[in-house]
Assembly symmetry: C2
Homo-oligomer: 378 residues x 2
């Protein structure tokens, strides 16, 4: 298995990105990802009860068709809480992409990210789509990975190459996310492409498993987004024998988990205003679920995050957070260990000594810069 | 019913406060509250699974005796996660108070607040107790209300006088709290004194009801403390006919609710680093519980708090928080209204239009000063 620290699109994938006018800054705000042949898709969406219009359109298209070929993504506007107009806007964008590419509208998936509650300037997007389609290329991923960002300070992309039954398979992931990052869903926008030949059922299963241990184990500010989506396309062009069972998927799953986990860590490292990357390793819980709950409660404690920002080993705040998580624990058995706080990467080890459940949660510290970023964002 | 914006101790209550050496600042850190005659008590403690040693000692004393006469409180150290030594320290403090006052150890309740996980300097406390007892007086409440503070920037006390069956009854409450303030418990230290004659059962009931609608409806940072306690003593010296039924308790309950709510609001107004006082009025939820859940999720959203700090009416963040609360809602029916954000007091009105459940939650904004305070606190 070979890890490449950048986006290398798998066989048959092309992408492009440009500025269509949604971001005042003039930065790229529209991306298109395409497979030259129909691909199987798997998607995970936020569990927030308010869900953005592009999610409802993508859900519909996922139900309507077994194969998909394009993902259109805009940043700068979430197209969320925008009513029926929001849905018809998202559908209009999908249709415009389909028309230009000569594919069916239901083959197009849609994602948006940015401010919530404002109508999408859909005309600007539609006007830019022909140029966006013309720019599609393997190298276009460079523009595309930039065009999906909002408050992110760096792009997030990587690839894994793995030999499956003698054929080289590539998995390439790009993601965005920096604030409004909280778990129990696919916590951000993530797009993963592979040329592996893999059945739709197995693709969905391995993606869910990989996301549960990666994107669903990170938190920046405990705030759940309305637009979070992880979308994966598999076009089968690697020519490997079809992966259609759990057993055959072992190696692919391992590679995919690596892609998801590395992308998830990048999001935390780019956590709004963060100065430190924090790993919370919880062991000895009664169940894995309880371990995750303890880790997330500690990770979302403003008091713990502030103490770590300050390099102040206030372990009482960690103890208090463990106790408030609701997980079964016994004060006499609880052990907490914190690595030196002056370093950029901090490890908090919590052992409940109650059972065999464990989990690792990734988070960032809380700094005055987080407040500055979110006070000024609009 | 008459509201007095300061602590007027009811008949038969005296108090004192001084600096015994726990706070480096030299500020008062030890308080004693006494009833000259045995009083009925009601206590509510944090639901955090890690609970401080003084809570376990107080619980034991509440079980062992139906009447109590003294509450000893130290600030500067929470005596929490301090193992068996912590418990024997808290017990030792109670015994020292009992000896000096000539009462039984089980008549003494104990509270601590401050940093978690460090042994209590119990010798300093014990040494100061004789002087503390000598200083007991009606006016001593002035020192006592200061001695219970930690990061608070002002004292929190008030009194209500109410005529019950022709007799004047006084309810006086003092509280501390500024950070590590989150609901689902008695969220801070609160001490309430009354000269009303009220049965233990009814006292417990009205206190629980009053706390649920006041201290349990506030949040500063969503972080649940290990030491939170509301303790109430009723010594019966007002001479009113015994309040021993719900019906007879109506007026008393109203007065007590007022005391608790005003104290709770003071805690929020003194929220660490806060610049704004925020009321979140949730209506139209399926149940009162769901209304509270929505209100608390919005109140604990760092993104909402930061937007309000900045005077930035980012209502999308409120929408996203509503959707993540888990409460039943329908995007089409959801209405959100925010008062002008330039004012010191902000009202967020949320109507789910789903039913008759409503709740009001009180919180503060999140500012760079919160981070400064908690980065430096140790």
């Amino acid at each position: 298995m070979k890890l490449l620290k950048d986006a290398n699109l798998p066989k048959g994938f092309i992408a492009s990105g440009l500025h269509c006018g949604l971001k005042k800054s003039g930065k790229a705000d529209l991306a298109l990802f395409c497979s030259e042949v129909p691909a199987r898709a798997a998607c995970l969406f936020t569990v927030n009860k308010i869900q953005a219009a592009p999610i409802s359109v993508s859900r519909k298209h996922l139900k309507a068709s077994g194969y998909h070929q394009a993902i259109i993504v805009n940043s700068g506007n979430a197209n969320c809480f925008t009513g029926p107009r929001g849905t018809s806007d998202a559908l209009g964008v999908a249709k415009a992409v389909a028309d230009v590419l000569g594919i069916k509208t239901k083959s197009v998936l849609v994602s948006s990210t940015g401010i919530i509650g404002r109508p999408l300037k859909v005309d600007k997007i539609k006007k830019a789509i022909p140029k966006l389609a013309r720019s599609l290329s393997v190298k276009g991923i460079k523009q595309a990975k930039r065009a999906i960002l909002t408050t992110d300070t760096f792009t997030k992309a990587l690839s894994v190459k793995v030999k499956i039954s003698g054929r080289e398979v590539t998995i390439c992931g790009v993601a965005k996310g920096s604030g409004m990052i909280s778990p129990d869903m696919a916590t951000m926008l993530g797009f993963i492409f592979t040329d592996a030949d893999i059945s739709k059922i197995i693709l969905g299963k391995v993606l869910r498993a990989a996301v549960d241990e990666s994107f669903n184990c990170i938190t920046v500010d405990g705030c759940m987004s309305t637009n979070d989506t992880v979308t994966m396309l598999a076009n089968g062009l690697a020519g490997n024998p079809l992966i259609n069972s759990d057993k055959k998927a072992v190696l692919f799953k391992k590679a995919l988990s690596l892609v998801c986990l590395e992308l998830a860590k990048m999001i935390v490292k780019d956590g709004e205003g963060s100065s430190k990357f924090i790993q919370i390793k919880v062991a000895g819980a009664k169940t894995q679920g309880q371990a995750k709950r303890v880790g997330l409660t500690v990770a979302n404690s403003n008091l713990v995050k502030t103490a770590i920002y300050a390099g102040n080993p206030n372990f009482g705040r960690i103890i208090a957070a463990c106790g408030s998580s609701g997980a079964a624990l016994n004060e006499k058995k609880l052990k907490v260990k914190v690595s030196p706080l002056k370093r950029k990467e901090v490890v908090i080890e919590i052992n409940l000594n109650q059972g065999g459940g464990s989990s690792v949660i990734y988070t960032s510290d809380l700094t005055p810069k987080y407040i500055k970023i979110n006070a000024e964002y609009n």
